[in-house]
Subunit: 437 residues, 2 copies
């Protein structure tokens, strides 16, 4: 790792700079796959699945039998764990429901907001060696709570044409039934255009490799919404002498095992604390199956000594970490002053992995500095708010003059007239006669 | 207008199709201006302002003297109107503040969300013949309530190098002081990269012509967030015999005067109602200063006869109008079943222009079908939510096993270990010794 002592403000941007990635060389293939799927639908999906996933599928949709078989393959201990996590995630995301509040802004003028679930959403779950059923929980649970009517899940099949039973079990537990064996660019293309098997959706959620990331940007350009721009995962920890270095090291390593592009930063107001964490890192890293990845990430990590609390929170807000762990005697100061972060973990007994799996918060979070403008996935991500207004005759009398003056000043006479005809109407049934001033 | 009787579902997509627009021929100029501004800053801004706005500016920033002079130029009646609108918009947007709710998902596991204002936001107000001070109210008021620290407003100067006093007065009333005389592509470029005068921001809001629309898409590709994709304004009205045709016609015309690409649709379960509205349109249109524009829009408008209420709401949800006016005996049915709309106006005395100016709701709304996934601008647009979690030793004992099983199944052993070291620690100070299972 690199240890940096009290960096000057002018150097912060350089020190905090994330490695830049250019995706331009992938655009050609994404464009090609998208055009093909738009034109050839399922046939194209089967062809790409054969090419990339090495399997010849007869049916792209997962059958009911496959779903019910999955349940038998899952150990009871895993089922219990998934159930506990599901309950916590449900509790927290249900608490995000907004109540309808009718506001009388002027007498006779009532305004309110109501939330509606986005009708059609797509959830992409990447493939790979391990089944990411935790991401099924994180994306499908709020979609169901939001009342999304059609929830479509795509996951690449294995070489036998099967979806991992943990994914199927988790989806079925949340009552997601539209599951498709398709991955990568072709999955995002299918959700964008729709095919004979896969329904077109309005918004696409979920992580993925650089192909999926580019494909989601393409979907966005085709008028489909996406959850957020993707990037490598990140963790920043603020520590002081109250932090347990064994715990801090374990958290840094849990971030470091994700992939060689993961970002790890540790800030402390005490050099001994940093040294103790480093010692622990060296001990714990040896016992990890993914130690080669973790070692590379730790080698690129940054340990920053910063004495001043305001400087510390300023540099953190400048970086805008996806995950922020606070283990200091002054956690309340940092909670109050943090502006840019995805999810915050407070105290020695709150590891990041709790939020990744089971505390109840969402693990789909803004990376790459997007915490400056984006929230992590939450109930809002699956809904949109409609505003309503209901004005009485008294109400339009109260605000009508205001509207007339403003519309006239903006040169919009028909806008003014829409009020004028109402102000000058003797009653609300005045058919067949034009009333304009 | 075109009257359509009970269209079949299979024809809805075609009937509701909005005119497609290709912006590809504008990309070259946007790209050129962006590169120029990134490289040459203020000098480039001055050059483009001279070229497009025909004025040679010495200072790009609006001075304090200009702001205080503006107040003297505004009639008291307009000041009063702006004040009333401001109060209503403030009341409604303040009501959108979320309260912190701490949820104990499992014993010892507390999760909550907190909102933070986006630190740096840009507001673009277009130029043209009339000063759009109402858009200043709609964008600056929620930005201030959200606690955005730096609010930057850009508006193109007139031929004398001045900003309309109504814009300056309104901005100053809301305590916006960073005002710049720059418009079009160059304004969006300046907010994207920052120049000597204009600060770089994290998110850009505001309407504009097709150049501004493309420039905002470019900003998005540079990692700057934007409020929403833009498109021509739209109004759909659902009426029955309870609707006053004079009022309905005035509302359709207020939409029609915006521009020749405005969209106007009127649905009724009664042909006489449609006929009466048409008669009123023909009378009222003659008295409008912008009757040429309105006539062209009305000629392209659609009058749809639909008898069934469910069919009616289904076709409306399929169209997803920016503005929806309900003037029927069954408004409650439509309120309950509307899923896709920007803002809804209920009853004979609620003209769309009320929401455009003074009822309190926002007038920056999703067009072009984006109401299927986007909300209109509201307090959320200027904030992002951070999740927090605080777990006690008891809490990690309660959910630790769950996390361990899930992490192990996903093949993330360091994630599991971050819990294991905590579960097996005798106390929270256990320095210098690695504890792993």
């Amino acid at each position: 790792m690199k240890t940096i002592i009290e960096p000057e403000r002018k150097d912060w941007t350089r020190i905090l700079k994330r490695p830049a990635k250019s995706f331009y060389d992938l655009e050609g293939i994404v464009k090609e796959v998208f055009s093909d799927i738009k034109l050839n639908g399922d046939e194209a999906l089967r062809r790409y699945t054969k090419k990339f996933d090495k399997v010849d599928l007869s049916k792209i949709a997962v059958s009911k039998a496959e779903i019910s078989n999955a349940e038998k393959k899952i150990p009871e201990t895993l089922k219990d764990a998934i159930n506990i996590a599901k309950n916590n995630i449900e509790k927290f995301h249900k608490s995000q429901t907004i109540e309808k509040k009718i506001i009388e802004t002027s007498q006779g003028v009532e305004c309110w907001q109501e939330s509606r679930g986005i009708e059609k959403v797509g959830i992409y779950i990447p493939g790979g060696t391990a089944p990411l059923f935790s991401t099924v929980l994180m994306l499908a649970i709020p979609a169901v709570i939001a009342g999304c009517k059609e929830i479509v899940l795509c996951n690449p099949p294995d070489i036998n044409g099967e979806i991992n039973p943990a994914i199927l079990y988790t989806a079925s537990l949340i009552k997601i039934t539209k599951l498709f064996k398709v991955g990568g660019i072709q999955a995002i293309g299918a959700l964008t255009f729709g095919t004979e098997s896969v329904p077109k959706v309005y918004k696409i959620f979920g992580p993925g490799n650089q192909y999926v990331t580019i494909a989601k940007q393409f979907a966005l350009n085709k008028g489909i919404s996406i959850d957020m721009p993707a990037g490598p995962s990140e963790l920043l920890i603020i520590t002081d002498k109250s932090a347990n270095p064994v715990f801090v090291a374990s958290d840094l390593l849990s971030q470091a095992e994700h992939g060689i592009d993961s970002q790890v930063i540790c800030v402390a107001n005490n050099i001994n604390v940093l040294n103790n964490i480093e010692k622990q890192l060296n001990i714990q890293i040896e016992e990890l199956p993914r130690k080669d990845i973790a070692r590379e990430v730790i080698a690129n990590s940054k340990f920053i000594y910063m004495n001043d609390m305001q400087d510390t929170i300023d540099i953190v807000n400048e970086y805008a970490p996806e995950h922020l762990i606070l283990v200091t005697e002054n956690n309340d100061f940092y909670i109050e002053n943090i502006i840019n972060a995805g999810s915050v973990f407070i105290g020695n007994y709150t590891p990041e992995s709790a939020g990744d799996y089971a505390s109840g918060t969402n693990h789909t979070l803004p990376t790459n500095g997007f915490a400056k403008t984006y929230s992590g996935v939450n109930l809002d991500s699956f809904t949109k708010k409609i505003t309503f207004q209901k004005i009485t005759k008294e109400g339009i009398n109260n605000i009508g003059k205001t509207i007339e003056i403003m519309a006239k000043t903006e040169g919009l006479h028909a806008h003014k007239n829409a009020v004028t005809v109402r102000l000058t109407s003797e009653n609300n049934v005045n058919y067949g006669k034009s009333i304009t001033r």
